[in-house]
Symmetry: C2
Subunit: 414 residues, 2 copies
């Protein structure tokens, strides 16, 4: 029996229970949208895990779930966790791997007989992916005061259901949503474990890495407005077809991102009237763009906007561009990052743990403005994420649990 068979068994039992919740039979992907039935099932799973381990369970004012070992009111708590919601047809690992690994790491530490010198908590942040209301990290943003209460109350999903209505229908109280500075002030360190959403660890041959920074990123909505007309009878010269400027802008985005070593994606579109024989009156496309630094991102997005305006002018199409969200670069606290590196190097016989940047946003990025924060990444052999094909190997997941346990043991001791 290997040293880590206990952690492995604990991990797998949880993984098996969580796996069917919110899974779409057709695609094999997950549809765990915030406050949906699937999300409520995942939340019930979280509560059962907490209570089954004798942890104190609570829900904060923004619907985030907490499981406490030790006094939740004491200072300098060590907190770990992630999220359980998903993008449309997302993978099994993005989010849940961090939550499951947190409980498994606690089991591992209890197996080691560790006495905790500080309170320890596991958290499930609500609505990290933003799939339902269009804004990511709503739970952590609200708690950190990075999302206005009125703005949050106005968020609506595609069916016109508001965020407070959705919370209420899921059995949560939306009346007190808002900043939670006292709770955050009691946290000494927050560590989020996450599946890597790229292939850096695979290319370097490592199972686990530490985050250096989250790239600045934003979402922009491009509304191309032309004139609806009959696709069979309207001469090309009489058309004001917004699909053409949209298509040109998609290609411009790829070009600008390539030139700058950044990424830019048009992955979501909405067309009116969206009929086979109708020239569209409106093509609405969303741009997601990210780069290693702010100046590069500005260059990319400015280039795309300029090109889009020229294309729209050429086709007699009106263009409105709205920045829907923006997150500046996040540099994780260097002292905590270095401490975690020392812990992991001490626990293994390796000289160096890889430190890597990422283009993905996370609750850890949001919290980093209020709390010392760090992230661990687990190897993703294909780099695929936000897809049913997202995958991490069993051995790498267990290595992540052990690394997280080592880090929590070290941090609760310091």
């Amino acid at each position: 029996m290997s040293r880590y068979d206990g952690a492995s068994a604990s991990f797998h039992e949880m993984w098996r229970d969580l796996e069917p919740l919110g899974r779409n039979a057709g695609s094999g992907g997950y549809r765990r949208y915030a406050w949906s039935e699937a999300d409520v099932e995942c939340r019930a799973w979280f509560r059962a895990q907490a209570e089954g381990r004798g942890l104190a369970y609570e829900v904060d004012r923004n619907g985030n779930q907490w499981a406490w070992l030790g006094d939740p009111e004491a200072q300098d708590a060590v907190v770990t966790g992630s999220h359980l919601d998903s993008v449309p047809d997302g993978g099994a690992f993005d989010g849940p791997l961090g939550v499951v690994s947190s409980f498994a790491a606690l089991d591992e530490l209890r197996g080691r007989g560790v006495e905790f010198g500080k309170p320890l908590a596991i958290v499930n942040f609500g609505d990290e992916e933003g799939a339902r209301f269009g804004l990511a990290c709503v739970g952590s943003r609200l708690s950190a005061g990075q999302l206005g209460v009125e703005q949050a109350r106005r968020l609506t999903d595609a069916d016109g259901i508001s965020l407070p209505q959705a919370m209420e229908r899921a059995g949560y109280d939306p009346t007190a949503i808002g900043p939670d500075p006292e709770r955050l002030a009691r946290i000494g360190a927050f560590v989020e474990l996450h599946v890597e959403q790229g292939r850096a660890l695979d290319l370097s041959g490592d199972q686990v890495g530490i985050a250096s920074a989250i790239w600045p990123h934003g979402r922009w909505r491009f509304d191309f407005r032309g004139e609806a007309n009959h696709a069979g009878t309207t001469r090309l010269v009489d058309r004001r077809d917004p699909m053409l400027s949209y298509a040109e802008t998609v290609l411009a985005a790829r070009r600008e991102a390539h030139l700058a070593g950044a990424v830019a994606t048009f992955g979501k579109i909405s067309v009116e009237p969206n009929g086979v024989n109708a020239i569209p009156s409106l093509v609405r496309g969303w741009l997601d763009s990210r780069a290693a630094d702010q100046a590069t991102l500005d260059t990319v997005v400015t280039g795309i906007e300029k090109a889009a305006r020229e294309y729209a002018d050429t086709h007699g199409v009106e263009l409105d561009i709205v920045r829907e969200s923006f997150t500046p670069v996040v540099e994780f606290e260097h002292a905590l990052r270095d401490e975690i590196a020392r812990i992991l190097q001490g626990a293994s016989d390796r000289l160096e743990v890889p430190v890597l940047g990422t283009g993905a946003g996370h609750d850890a990025g949001i919290l980093s403005g209020s709390v010392p924060t760090a992230m661990l990444f687990v190897r993703n052999p294909t780099g695929v994420s936000h897809s049913p094909a997202e995958y991490a190997a069993e051995d790498d997941c267990v290595a992540g649990v052990i690394a997280l346990a080592d880090v929590l043991e070290g941090l609760t001791r310091r």
Copy 2:
């Protein structure tokens, strides 16, 4: 008082009654989908118009409405009419102008004291636009035997309601739908008046024109399949992004159509998973293309398909192309067309009535395989159609009524 004040008053009274039915308050456009509540209201209006004029009202086996002056069982009837259903947020004129003008032309002829030598009928064909079940001209296709009964029974709308169920709910009997050759054999000529869906009459300065042909046209579905992945963390070189090949294909379609003097449109799209931060796994785009002749259309579509396959290969994307529908060129019967031209030239002091082709499909096109068929077009000053902005001037509509009355008078005399 001008010579045509009677026709004008009759036209306007009907127009006013029909105008509010099925109108969407938000867009100002019409949502008169086949067998919907709005369609049932339009059908009640048709029946009231027929009965108010002492015409014999009947519904054929496919739910098309008929109003007869003279013996419906006699041979060599002259039939006019159009349809009352609409595309999503369509205009007021496409379809209804032909039906209203038919009743107004009858009023005009009665005002003239014309004695009809042949039976005369006004028809409202069901489900011309195909907005609900995805197939255009269902009523006329069924009657002409151009749509199989079993295929028709299998048509379902977006809510899973089948065509027979929809007919039944609207109070119509679907049990006998199918070919109606005896009815069609009794028709000596069918003339459909329609608002022009282009600007040819506006450019030539004419109020009314005659159709020469309906261009061949088809619909093709392009399925670009790539790999869903995280928009923030997937390097450009690791992507298989189907949105890029889609965008390139949209631009290729415009280019090929321009070179050939044809039209090609991508107006409908469906994306999976359609998330802002997800590279799509599937971009499904529909191409509508039409040209004056078959060879030109083949050239255009072959060119687009070839370009699309090259783009897909470049991006590691799989492409399936499916032809969803196709309608060959329709040449309206030359003898009837020439007779109508002589009638209209004789009734006015003009030497020539414009004869024009059209890219739009019509019930008249479907019937032309079974019955001598012709079409009249009324000037559309903006060319806009299938849009709330679709418009025809009052004077031009009345000119259309008078022209149709002249044609019906001439044809029932011959």
